[in-house]
């Protein structure tokens, strides 16, 4: 029983960051219809910003987080303005190839700048964990969970309670009509991509100090983000949050009670099942066709 409780706690902590990774990607896909292959690199970028600010500049850990989010926002906006805007209206394959190119170029850039050897970030949290009866969890991970929850809440409010959010939702439903109603669709696209990117960078900035930081760290994260998005339904933010926790649960219980060798396979088995039985995602609402 105590082992099961520990697995549940691990799941909560892991799920929070998975959710953060998933919503950034699903937001961009839902609104812009762009498969963002640079999502993983933006995650890596956020982690390296933490490394630069905390380890190289010696500044405060908590100050580094907003810096990473802002840097992710700016890099995302730059990618949108230079790569995606000129390609507006081209087919999804072209955009996808350009994004794959950008992913490879940026990852090689990270390798060129920082080298392949993993870096780590020191945190202000105590080494000793918080122990609650049979379960224990590190303070750093609790902080990461809290920060992830806060970011998810902010994103949710931004989309559902602000005029920018209303314009984003309108563009998501029908961008021609939104444009006719006076929504600046170009601006919405840039903002969406920048917000999605800053969420990826935030996830990297939060998880970089938990693990280690290296140029390819985003690859596995991106694969998981795609899995979460498929699980939750493309463009569905609530679905991505729940999908993040489902993936974490599947991994924890799969590794704990089935076989740790197949830990990363568990999530993908679920996805195969979802694609076969409910291809629009677990939480898809009825949608107008055509």
């Amino acid at each position: 029983m105590s082992e099961f409780l520990q697995h549940l706690v691990n799941m909560l902590v892991l799920g929070g960051t998975y959710a953060l990774l998933g919503i950034g990607l699903t937001l961009i896909f839902g609104i812009m219809n762009v498969v963002n292959f640079t999502h993983g690199v933006l995650y890596t970028f956020g982690a390296y910003i933490m490394f630069i600010v905390v380890q190289q500049l010696g500044l405060n850990f908590f100050l580094a987080l907003p810096v990473a989010v802002l840097a992710g926002w700016l890099l995302g906006a730059a990618i949108e303005l230079t790569l995606l805007r000129p390609l507006r209206g081209s087919d999804i394959d072209t955009t996808m190839l350009v994004m794959i190119g950008a992913w490879i170029a940026m990852q090689s850039g990270a390798l060129w700048i920082w080298g392949g050897v993993a870096k780590s970030v020191t945190t202000p949290f105590p080494e000793a964990p918080l122990v609650l009866g049979p379960v224990s969890v590190s303070w750093l991970r609790l902080f990461v969970l809290a920060a992830a929850a806060l970011l998810i809440l902010v994103t949710y409010l931004l989309i559902n309670r602000t005029s920018l959010g209303r314009a984003m939702r309108a563009t998501f439903q029908d961008h021609d009509t939104a444009a006719l109603m006076g929504v600046n669709v170009d601006m919405i696209y840039t903002s969406t991509f920048a917000i999605g990117s800053s969420l990826a960078a935030a996830a990297g900035a939060l998880l970089g100090p938990v693990y280690v930081i290296f140029p390819q760290m985003g690859d596995l994260a991106a694969v998981k983000a795609f899995a979460i998005v498929i699980l939750g339904g493309l463009g569905n933010i609530t679905g991505a949050v729940i999908g993040g926790f489902i993936l974490a649960l599947a991994e924890e219980l799969g590794a704990g009670y089935v076989s740790s060798g197949y830990r990363d396979a568990m999530g993908f088995l679920i996805i195969i099942a979802v694609l076969i039985f409910k291809p629009t995602g677990l939480f898809a609402r009825a949608e107008r066709v055509g």
Binding site: S2, Q6, E251
Partner: protein, 384 residues
């Protein structure tokens, strides 16, 4: 304008020719190591150790009157890439001999290429038993196979009063081979084997496996993986309140890095290593060890990397000795010469003995294995 272009072309051509001629005066050694991916830290250390050996040899006049040149390629911690890199080094760079490929799965992937192109390779790190038992006569290994590690550890299991042991190993030939060889040895000693948990080489979160181990009824965990994953395991084990004795194997732990990154969590842990940079006087070749450590520090590398990098140093010196003995830089001659060399490595004499099926034996030297313990953030020796 045309004349200027012509001039540029002539200069370029001359440079290329001179460069090419200079190239022919060196003896190339292919180095196939993971410089990116899961084993980047370890592979980079090995390459830096190899460079120290190459510089030392060249400063003393090189081999057969020529300078040696390391052709270093990154196998990206990926077996497919490791095989491709070996092919590239042999066919395009025309190296007569290789050193590589750090991980067991990487080395095993390279081995068919060695057969195909009949080119020998010194294996400096890999520990899977399969490497020297499958009948590949182009393999010359200077690192200990996991069965040798297990045998060395056998002497101390009584003193440690082990009763039941869990394993947490990297999910590849290295980790699974170690779990197999150590389980076999321990069963002979009457020690019970509990869980055998695995982790993907790129995995960063081992909390699920560690939670499971935390709830088991064993008192000791044997952990096999490289340094980056190890430090994560120590941190995550501490965060989960896992209070079992941890013993690591494989010689790629870099204990000082564990102390630096895992802090108090590292105390009381034991590590099977193949080099003693903390106690140069206790190594089989103190003079060479001191030279190597001084040179390593002089180049500004972290001391922690010594336990890994010495293998690159020994590997290149082994290759150079074989080329010298062969009298020419040709694969067949070098392969034959490996059987006749006897050099003083930093971890014992490097002399190859036959291993594997008759007629196509691989070479295996018999390096030392040491058990060290971390206490109060310091490395101490445990006598085996």
């Amino acid at each position: 304008m045309t004349r200027a272009l012509g001039l540029v072309r002539t200069i370029a051509l001359t440079t290329a020719l001179v460069g090419g001629a200079a190239g022919a005066q060196t003896i190339k050694i292919g180095v196939n190591e993971p410089l990116t991916g899961a084993f980047a830290a370890s592979g980079t250390y090995v390459v830096n150790g190899a460079k120290i050996a190459a510089d030392e040899i060249n400063a003393k006049g090189g081999v057969l009157g020529k300078k040696i040149e390391l052709v270093i390629e990154d196998n990206k911690s990926n077996p497919t890439e490791a095989a491709a890199v070996a092919e590239k080094l042999i066919t395009s760079d025309k190296v007569p001999v290789l050193m590589g490929a750090w991980g067991s799965s990487l080395t095993l992937a390279v081995m068919p290429k060695l057969m195909e192109y009949e080119t020998p390779m010194v294996v400096e790190t890999s520990s899977s038993g399969k490497i020297t038992t499958t009948g590949n006569p182009f393999i010359f290994r200077i690192s200990p196979p996991s069965a040798v590690e297990a045998a060395a550890f056998k002497g101390i299991v009584d003193k440690l009063a082990l009763k039941k042991v869990d394993f947490l190993v990297i999910n590849n030939d290295w980790g699974r081979g170690t779990a197999e060889d150590f389980s076999k040895m321990m069963k002979e000693k009457g020690i019970a084997i509990g869980l055998v948990e695995t982790m993907d080489q790129g995995a960063q979160d081992m909390s699920a496996q560690l939670s499971k181990i935390k709830s088991s009824d064993s008192e000791t965990v044997i952990v096999t993986t490289a340094v980056d994953q190890l430090t994560l395991i120590f941190k995550q084990a501490a965060a989960l309140g896992l209070k079992k004795r941890i013993i690591t194997t494989g010689g790629s732990q870099n204990p000082d890095q564990i102390i630096a990154q895992a802090g108090a969590a590292a105390n009381g842990t034991m590590h099977l290593t193949t080099f003693l940079p903390w106690f140069p006087d206790k190594t089989p070749n103190p003079e060479a060890t001191n030279y190597f450590i001084t040179e390593w520090k002089k180049r500004g590398f972290e001391f922690a990397g010594c336990t890994e990098s010495f293998r690159g140093y020994d590997g290149i010196r082994t290759v150079a000795a074989a080329i010298e003995k062969a009298g020419k830089a040709e694969p067949a001659a070098i392969k034959a010469a490996f059987w006749d060399i006897n050099i003083k490595g930093l971890n014992g004499d490097i002399v190859f003995r036959k291993s594997g099926p008759e007629g196509k034996e691989s070479g295996q030297s018999q390096p030392n294995v040491y058990l060290i313990e971390i206490n109060d953030g310091k490395v101490g020796m445990k006598t085996l």
